[in-house]
C-alpha cells in the first residue's frame, strides 16, 4: 500500500516535472507569493526580496494602493497626527526591491496545485505562500451589529475611511453628548488599542466638548495596561470615562444602530456616537486555504509555517502562535523569522534559531506614553515568552515623554522596515 502510493507520487512528480520544465526554465527562480501588504506581509516581502538579492521571485497581493497603519490611528483620533502621516504606498517595494505588487484580492488557494486565485481572474503559482491578511470580524458577535451597520457604528479597527468616519462622528457630538465603545473579547488585534483609543477620544473631547461622557462596555474583567490607563483617566480625564467590565454586565450588550442606542446589562442608553469593536478571527482567506482551527490559523513557532500545510506560512494577527500579542510589532518580528526560513528552504541560505520581540506603546495624553514589551523564543509547542517589562504607575513626566518619543521613533522605524 505504502509502496504503491509512493511510486505513484514519484511517477506523478516526474510527470509534473517534465511538464513544468518549460515554465521553470522561463522564470527559473523559486516563487514566493505574499497575500496581504500590512505589517506582516510587507515586511516578509521586503526581507525576502532584499536578502535573496534577486534569487527569489516575490509577488505581493494587496487590494489597497494605500495602507493606513492601525498603529497611530488612535493618535489621529486624538489630533496628534493627520491622516496623511499614517498612509503608506507600495511604490518602493516595487521600484527598489523588485517586488511584483499586484493590487487585487486573493479569493482562493489550492494547496495541492500551489496556486492562488485572484478576484480579477488571474492565477499565481507559488513554491511558498505567505498569508498575512490580518483580521475579519466574527458574525453575530455583538447583538444588533453587522457589517451593514459599520457606517452608523464604525469599528475603526481597520484603519482608513472607518477611522475618518469615527473621528467625524465624535466631532459632531452635541455638547455633553454620550460616546460608547463596545470593547472586544480576547484574543484580538492590539490588546491596549481600545484603551489607548478611549484616552485619545477623551483628550479630544476634553478640549472640544468637556462635558461629554464616555462609556466602555467590556466583556473582559481586566485589560492590557489596565492600571496605567486607569491612572491616566483619573489624572487627566477625571469623571469622563465610565468603564463597565464583565463583572458589572459589560459583556451583556446589544446595540441598535438605527435608534442609536446601546443596551448594557438590560439598561438602554441613547448615544451620540458609538464604536463597536466585535470579536475577531483570522482574515477570511485563511479559511479558504483550509488552514484554520477555530478562529485562527495555527503555526509552527520555528518558521511560522501552517500546521496544516507546511508550504503556507501565516503571519501576524491571523496566526495562532502562542504567547505574542496580535500587534504590528509582533507581525513584523514574525515576518523576519519566516523570511529567513523561506530563503533557507528555497535557496539553501543559513537559518538561525528563531527569536521574536514585541513592544506596544500607548499614548495616554500629550507627551504621556506608556509601554509594555517582551521577548520570545520558538519551542516545539508555541512561541513562548522569555522576558518582559511594563511601564510603572507614577512615573515622572520625563520618563513618560521619553516613552512617547520612543514610540514616534519606532513608528518611523517600523514603517521604513515594512515599505523600504
Amino acid at each position: 500500500m505504502s509502496i504503491n502510493r509512493r511510486s505513484f507520487i514519484q511517477t506523478a512528480a516526474a510527470v509534473t516535472a517534465s511538464l513544468a520544465t518549460p515554465m521553470v526554465m522561463a522564470s527559473g527562480k523559486p516563487r514566493v507569493v505574499v497575500v496581504g501588504g500590512g505589517a506582516g506581509g510587507a515586511t516578509v516581502a521586503r526581507y525576502i526580496a532584499k536578502d535573496s538579492k534577486g534569487a527569489i521571485d516575490v509577488t505581493l497581493v494587496e487590494p489597497s494602493r494605500t495602507y493606513y497603519t492601525c498603529f497611530f490611528s488612535n493618535l489621529y483620533l486624538g489630533g496628534f497626527r493627520d491622516l496623511g502621516s499614517i498612509a503608506h504606498s507600495y511604490g518602493n517595494l516595487a521600484s527598489e526591491y523588485g517586488i511584483n505588487v499586484v493590487h487585487d484580492w486573493a479569493v482562493d488557494i489550492d494547496g495541492g496545485s500551489k496556486t492562488v486565485s485572484l478576484a480579477g481572474g488571474g492565477t499565481l503559482n507559488y513554491d511558498r505562500l505567505v498569508l498575512s491578511p490580518g483580521i475579519d470580524f466574527v458574525d453575530g458577535a455583538v447583538d444588533g451589529w453587522d457589517l451593514n451597520a459599520q457606517n452608523k457604528m464604525p469599528h475603526a479597527y481597520k484603519a482608513g475611511s472607518q477611522t475618518e468616519l469615527l473621528k467625524a462622528q465624535l466631532a459632531s457630538m452635541p455638547e455633553g453628548g454620550v460616546f460608547a465603545m463596545v470593547a472586544p473579547p480576547n484574543p484580538y488585534r492590539c490588546p491596549p488599542g481600545p484603551y489607548e483609543r478611549i484616552s485619545m477620544i477623551a483628550h479630544m473631547l476634553k478640549k472640544s466638548n468637556p462635558t461629554a461622557k464616555i462609556i466602555v462596555a467590556d466583556p473582559k474583567p481586566k485589560f492590557s495596561k489596565m492600571g496605567l490607563f486607569q491612572e491616566g483617566w483619573a489624572n487627566h480625564y477625571d469623571g469622563m470615562v465610565d468603564w463597565i467590565g464583565s463583572e458589572f454586565g459589560g459583556g451583556n450588550v446589544s446595540v441598535n444602530p438605527e435608534a442609536m442606542t446601546v443596551s448594557i446589562d438590560g439598561e438602554e442608553t441613547k448615544v451620540d456616537a458609538c464604536n463597536v469593536i466585535p470579536a475577531m478571527k483570522a482574515g477570511r482567506i485563511c479559511e479558504m486555504a483550509g488552514i484554520t482551527d477555530g478562529n485562527w490559523a495555527p503555526v509552527s513557532a520555528h518558521d511560522m509555517s501552517s500546521k496544516v500545510d507546511s508550504n503556507i506560512h501565516v503571519l501576524g494577527d491571523a496566526s495562532a502562535q502562542g504567547d505574542m500579542p496580535k500587534s504590528g510589532f509582533s507581525a513584523n518580528s514574525q515576518a523576519k523569522v519566516a523570511a529567513m526560513a523561506i530563503r533557507g528552504a528555497l535557496t539553501g541560505s543559513k537559518v538561525f534559531p528563531a527569536k521574536f520581540s514585541n513592544t506596544c506603546w500607548s499614548l495616554v495624553d500629550t507627551n504621556n506614553g506608556v509601554k509594555v514589551g517582551a521577548t520570545y523564543k520558538a519551542t516545539d509547542e508555541k512561541i513562548a515568552k522569555v522576558d518582559g517589562f511594563i511601564s510603572k504607575t507614577g512615573e515622572t513626566a520625563d520618563v513618560r515623554k521619553a516613552t512617547y518619543e520612543e514610540s514616534v521613533g519606532w513608528y518611523a522605524g517600523i514603517t521604513a522596515d515594512m515599505f523600504g
Partner: protein, 114 residues
C-alpha cells in the same frame, strides 16, 4: 544607591571624558568578552529585530541611530543595558536576551553599516 546608579546612567549617556573614565571603573568587561569575533551573518539576522526601532538609514528620531559605531562601544552599551547599568526598559529587555556571542555578532554587523 539609586542616586549613584542615576549618576552612572547619566555619565554613560552624556559623559565628558573625565566622567567616562570614572564610569568605566564601575563597569568593565573582561578581555575575553571584548575579544570575541562576531559572526557577521548571524549579526545581520539578529539585527533585523533591532531595525524595527533603530532605522536602517541611521536617522535619530526618538531612538538613536547606531550604524557605524565602534565595535567596542556597541559591545559595552549592550552589556551595560543587560546588566542594568543603563536604564532604558526596552533596551534592558532586548540586551537581556543576548549572549556574549550574539552581542559580538550584532556589534560587528552594526559597526559595518554606514
Amino acid at each position: 544607591m539609586s542616586l549613584q546608579s542615576n549618576l552612572i546612567a547619566s555619565v554613560f549617556l552624556f559623559g565628558t571624558a573625565l566622567n567616562a573614565e570614572q564610569a568605566i571603573e564601575k563597569f568593565t568587561l573582561s578581555p575575553s568578552i571584548l575579544e570575541i569575533q562576531g559572526d557577521l551573518a548571524y549579526g545581520e539576522y539578529l539585527a533585523s529585530d533591532c531595525q524595527t526601532c533603530h532605522r536602517a538609514d541611521n536617522s535619530n528620531q526618538g531612538i538613536p541611530g547606531i550604524n557605524g559605531r565602534e565595535i567596542t562601544e556597541i559591545v559595552y552599551a549592550l552589556h551595560e543595558y543587560k546588566n542594568k547599568y543603563r536604564k532604558n526598559q526596552v533596551m534592558q529587555m532586548m540586551a537581556g536576551g543576548l549572549g556574549d556571542e550574539e552581542i559580538a555578532a550584532l556589534a560587528s554587523y552594526f559597526a559595518s553599516l554606514q
